[in-house]
Amino acid sequence: MSYQSAIVFGFNEYAKQIALQIAPEYPSFAIFVMNESERILAKSAGFEAALFDLGEDWKIIEERFDPKNLIVFCALDKDAENVFLTISLRSIFGDLPIIALAGDHESAAKMKSAGANKVMATQQITANIITEMLEKPTVTGVLHDILYEESFLKIAQLVVPEDCFLVGKHLHDIDWGEEFDLLVLAIVDHQLSATFSFTSKGHHHHIDPEDVLVVVGYEDSIAALSQAMGIIK
């Protein structure tokens, strides 16, 4: 799903990097900070920021944005403040996608409980990347290119349409590499749950409409499959 608006709460090194990456992706983008010094910092980085406090009733959001087309990033300095922000946003906006930053596992669990849709535990991310860089340098490089760099190789999630030729087939019925020059890493079964299962584990998977295929391949190959599936007419 693509959203029209995004809000970043806080302005520290994390928030700054998030803002730099996502601001160009959204037609409407805003930063909310808790104090004047953060506002000045944001301004020096080229962003206009509005002030807020944790006791807000969030009418400002309803006035400026369409909550159905909004995604928020909670990146305040302290985990406790982030939890409070998450829970207060969730109390007003039941369906708002909230992505929150947490320092460690413990805070991450609290953010989840507070209603965050996705929690990025910074320590865990750093630890994972450090071990991966040293133990699997090639994997790190390749994944980094696929995910973040402007390479021809892409990762994409394709939603299976109603009248798609794949409906009714099993994942293993198709030689994805041979036929489409791409690989299916995982599938989200719409009927079973919202979580994904890896292709390496669930090969007897029955493809249904609205299942999501996570594929890796060249842009052209992904476009060709999308066309064959009826996503791109």
Binding site: L134, L153, I155
Partner: protein, 519 residues
């Protein structure tokens, strides 16, 4: 003339690489605990000592074969004598002393005083000869003169030689030595009590015909046996006066025992941390390869845990003792040393070239990480260094300090945020693969010749086809990645294959690639 000749020899030995190498080898073998072959030498010597003592004990009541006696009296003694002479040789550098004296005299424009140099040599060597361990070594050689039968008991001195080779015994002695003053006080106290009580008991008992204590020696014997609370009962006072003395000495004995026990216990308690640290350093020097983490905190704990989970060894160095204690409580091998100090690495005896897979700098400060990186680079130019970056503007400084890989989490989180908001499922999939918590792994396999030869054949095997995802092949030489490789791609030794699958499937894939050749 003789002086010039001796100086010539001294210069020749000083400049001779071969001589230096041989001397260094023996020095390492005899004196350097970090030298890998020393332990083999020590074990050999310990076995010889045990054999020697066994023969001595056996020979008391039984006949010993002449070959064994010969081995004991000559072979072992000769080995010990050679060892003694080698220790004497490596103890100091005679040629250096002669050259220094010669250059000193030359500088002052006066004739070379050879006797002064010899005097200096004798003084230095005497320090070795009169050291306790050297005296024990010398006495242990004595049984060589086997005709002097009395000297056979000197074999027992060989047992004392064990102190040289067993580190635990050396530690025991050094712990007790640290309480020298207390032991001396105790000794004086016990001696005074024994002397006074011996004289008293002798005076009270010696003239009594019923008393078994008749001589001063018996009185001293009784005092010693009583004060150390042994009390055999073979000599007992019979007079009331004697028994009064006994009561006093029994009370004093309890004090002596209590005092001794408390000294030993306190010596061990005080040295416990030191002993533990020595043990830890010893363990570290025995590791083949490990990751070195500099700086401990919650992030370091997570990184260490992940490496340990993957079966890798991890050593943590942290200057804060409290943090080290926390790390040890978590079960990590942590040492309380400053990671930014050269002295730390010399003390820990870490070999960066052979032991350290990579140094990971996780201090909560770019300044400290740069400082640590420069320290490590001073020791090793080759070792891989990875560091976290806390402030973006310091990236270049970290690179200039010789850090190979920089992890800037903030930037990574920014990139991930873009991904998670745009392609949440794809992000989750990659994140799950990286976290290795779902039973599915992304792995890289470096191909050897065998594997390269049978790579495609194996991927087509029914066990792997459509089950193991071969993401691509990375060619290290051309630094290019070939996604979903087809049969036309030439696979070579050193290529890296990236696969996605369950652990068992990936392991089986590796085995099958090699198995093809054998069939």
């Amino acid at each position: 003339m003789i002086g010039r000749w001796i100086v010539g020899i001294a210069f020749f030995l000083h400049d001779s690489l071969r001589y230096r190498r041989v001397k260094k080898f023996f020095h390492n073998l005899l004196e350097n605990p970090a030298y890998p072959y020393k332990k083999f030498f020590d074990y050999t010597m310990m076995v010889l000592i045990v054999i020697s003592v066994y023969i001595l004990v056996h020979h008391v009541k039984y006949e010993v074969k002449p070959d064994w006696l010969f081995f004991n009296n000559y072979v072992i003694s000769v080995i010990f004598m050679i060892e003694y002479l080698l220790r004497l040789w490596v103890y100091s550098d005679n040629s250096k002393v002669i050259i220094e004296q010669y250059e000193h005299d030359l500088f002052l424009q006066r004739p070379f005083k050879i006797l002064v140099a010899f005097r200096q040599i004798i003084i230095t060597k005497s320090k070795f000869v009169f050291s306790l361990s050297a005296i024990i070594d010398l006495l242990a050689i004595m049984p060589f003169f086997h005709e002097m039968r009395l000297l056979r008991v000197f074999i027992l001195f060989r047992v004392f030689k064990l102190f040289r080779y067993a580190k635990s015994l050396q530690q025991f002695v050094s712990i007790l030595a640290s309480k020298k003053f207390e032991f001396l006080t105790l000794g004086v106290f016990a001696s005074v009590i024994i002397t006074v009580s011996s004289v008293l008991i002798y005076v009270m008992e010696a003239n009594n015909p019923e008393s078994p204590i008749n001589t001063l020696f018996e009185a001293v014997y009784w005092s010693v046996v009583t004060i150390f609370t042994v009390g055999y009962g073979d000599f007992v006072p019979v007079t009331s006066e004697g028994r009064t003395v006994a009561m006093v000495i029994i009370v004093a004995g309890i004090a002596v025992i209590a005092f001794t026990t408390s000294i030993v216990v306190s010596a061990f308690t005080e040295k416990l941390d030191e002993i533990k640290e020595d043990k830890l350093i010893d363990d570290v020097s025995k590791f083949d390869q490990f990751y070195l983490i500099c700086g401990y905190g919650p992030l370091a704990a997570q990184v260490a845990r992940r490496f340990l989970k993957n079966g890798k060894q991890v050593i943590i160095i942290e200057s804060n003792h409290q943090k080290v204690a926390e790390a040890q409580k978590e079960g990590f091998l942590a040492l309380a040393y400053n990671p930014a100090s050269l002295h730390s690495y010399h003390t820990i005896r870490i070999n960066f070239e052979t032991q350290v897979i990579a140094a990971i700098l996780l201090e909560e400060s770019d300044v400290l990480n740069v400082y640590t990186a420069l320290t490590i680079r001073e020791i090793s130019k080759k070792v891989k260094i990875l560091s976290i970056l806390l402030h973006h503007e310091n990236r270049r400084k970290l690179t200039l300090a010789g850090i190979d890989e920089v992890v800037y989490t903030q930037e990574l989180v920014g990139l991930m945020s873009k991904e998670v908001s745009g392609r949440p499922v794809a992000f989750e999939v990659i994140h799950a693969l990286r976290s290795e918590n779902n039973g599915v792994f992304i792995e890289e396999i470096v191909l050897d010749t065998l594997m390269a030869q049978h790579f495609f054949e194996t991927t087509k095997h029914s066990m792997f086809h459509k089950r193991l995802i071969v993401l691509g092949v990375y060619k290290q030489l051309s630094q290019s990645f070939f996604f979903n490789p087809s049969n036309t791609l030439v696979i070579e030794e050193g290529d890296v294959v990236i696969v996605v699958g369950t652990r068992s499937l990936i392991d089986e894939f590796k085995i099958q690639m090699r198995r093809k050749k054998r069939s």
